[in-house]
């Protein structure tokens, strides 16, 4: 992992540059190195560690954030490329009054095992549902193909996304449709321990 390691400078190094962007609805600024990625700046400079660092080659999706409305791997975006942009991270998913439909559905379906890939899965799923509010199963599979899960909880994750889409499409539905599982009571009180970073990290 390259981030966080001491910098061995050779010759004249470019000075830090000011970066301004909006993260989870709040204007943020930082002085950043031009070769640092959006992932490094989110985690290190802005303290938003919900976005995970893993493969650093765009294969795993653990670092997924929404940049100007589209999901991207933050490990493949330079921080300065995001100047002036609007970024949504996992910390920005929860609504003020509790978990959003996706987070609740992930809990209900037991989609999180070790949990490491889950922030990326949730953010990718959020972008998917923004683009396709009622996706087919194949569209969910394709939409999340860039998010690997070492615990291989793919089935539960796909079910959770389909369920969340349905809850969003029919929020007033009182009785649960036939799809298995998914107790549909009012959202349980947010449990910070089960949603790493969602409530504890600074936004």
């Amino acid at each position: 992992m390259t981030s966080g390691t001491a910098h061995t400078s050779v010759g004249a190094e470019p000075p830090d540059s000011p970066l301004e962007l909006t993260v989870n609805g709040r204007p943020r600024r930082a002085l950043v190195r031009s070769h640092h990625t959006l992932l490094e700046v989110l985690r290190t400079d802005l303290g938003l560690t919900g976005t995970k660092e893993c493969c650093l080659v765009g294969e795993c999706g653990a670092c997924t954030v929404i940049l100007d409305g589209r999901s991207v791997d933050a490990c493949l975006v330079l921080a300065l490329e995001a100047a002036g942009s609007d970024v949504v991270t996992i910390e920005g998913l929860a609504a003020a009054d509790g978990l959003d439909a996706l987070q609740q559905a992930f809990l209900d379906h037991g989609a999180a095992q070790c949990g490491f890939c889950i922030p990326g899965q949730l953010v990718a799923a959020r972008a998917l549902l923004q683009a396709i509010p009622e996706p087919s199963r194949a569209e969910v599979e394709d939409g999340l193909a860039g998010n690997l899960c070492r615990c291989a909880g793919y089935e539960q994750i796909i079910e959770a996304v389909l369920d969340a889409a349905e809850r969003q499409a029919r929020p007033a539905a009182v009785h649960a449709p036939e799809r298995a599982s998914a107790p549909k009571g009012p959202p349980a009180g947010p449990d910070p321990a089960s949603v790493p970073d969602a409530r504890v990290a600074p936004q």
């Binding site: 390259t2 050779v10 470019p14 190195r33 070769h35 765009g58 493949l76 300065l80 193909a145 860039g146």
Partner: protein, 287 residues
């Protein structure tokens, strides 16, 4: 990642001036190849020039006389979704749709896929089959380069270090056309392909077959006998033509992805399938 200076020029002239002053500067579009190279040290560059604020460049897809012009910043997501590309240049939409993942397709540009010149790139066979033409800006102004004249070998093009692709033209196709992109990968999802083929069957009976991953650069071959495009042609007759088409395939023995024998066998199988799919699409049948 090694430190580098980051430039966001607002105009082509500024970008070209930086390239002239810095022979080792590198152009950044979506970054899905470049940032990986910068991080693993295979690319060392003192200066990275981001194209995304250059006012002459955009992510547009506009109609030209019968064809389409694609801006240098257009990403795979737009290519795969564009109704005009899906209808007339289907193989290109299909190729763009299988690049990496949603996250990758949201960043990866078509121009970057071309300039990176990977023999396994998923959009270049379709672009070759459709006769794509690049408009390139350099120190001496603007020039046009037929895509077939741009590729040399893996990672190497005939474009100068100080030239910037500003748009990609898809020429008009006369009459009905059907096309498809097929590829063979070890697993579903984002994995570079071991065989990539794009095939376009035209109303005239001409069939254009372009293929990659089986040599240092993607290749285009055109069948004018009409046999590939003939619905009543037997597989045997088509294979005879396809064996000529694929004669120049030279997969390297050193690849971890697939042996040369396997790739050559898959070329014939997928080639036959691609021809029939494209032919059926041209003739309006569901394929």
């Amino acid at each position: 990642m090694r430190a580098f200076a980051f430039e966001q020029p607002g105009s082509l002239a500024e970008a070209l001036a930086i390239l002239r002053a810095e022979p080792d500067a590198r152009i950044l579009a979506g970054g899905t190849d470049l940032i990986i190279g910068l991080r693993d040290g295979s690319i060392l560059s003192p200066t990275v020039i981001d194209l995304k604020r250059v006012r002459e460049l955009d992510a547009s897809i506009v109609e030209t006389v019968g064809g389409l012009a694609i801006g240098a910043l257009t990403a795979m997501t737009e290519i795969a979704a564009d109704p005009r590309i899906r209808a007339r240049y289907t193989a290109l939409a299909e190729g763009a749709a299988v690049v990496g993942s949603v996250q990758i397709r949201n960043r990866a540009t078509l121009a970057g896929n071309i300039c990176n010149a990977s023999p396994a790139a998923d959009t270049t066979p379709a672009l070759l089959a459709f006769g794509a033409v690049l408009t390139v800006h350099g120190p001496d102004g603007s020039r046009q380069v037929a895509l077939d004249d741009a590729f040399v070998s893996s990672g190497v093009t005939t474009l100068g270090h100080d030239e910037i692709v500003v748009r990609i033209d898809l020429p008009a196709i006369p009459g009905r056309v059907g096309s498809t992109h097929v590829r063979r990968t070890r697993r579903r999802g984002h994995d570079l392909a071991s065989v990539t083929i794009a095939c376009a069957v035209l109303e005239s009976g001409e069939t254009r077959v372009a293929f990659g991953s089986v040599g240092p650069r993607p290749l285009l071959r055109v069948d004018t006998t009409g046999i590939l495009a003939d619905p009543s042609a037997t597989d045997a007759a088509r294979l005879e033509i396809l064996d000529d088409v694929f004669a120049a395939a030279a997969p390297s023995a050193g690849s971890m992805r697939a042996s040369p024998e396997y790739r050559l066998a898959m070329l014939r199988v997928l080639g036959l399938r691609a021809v029939e799919t494209a032919r059926a699409r041209r003739d309006g049948a569901a394929a």
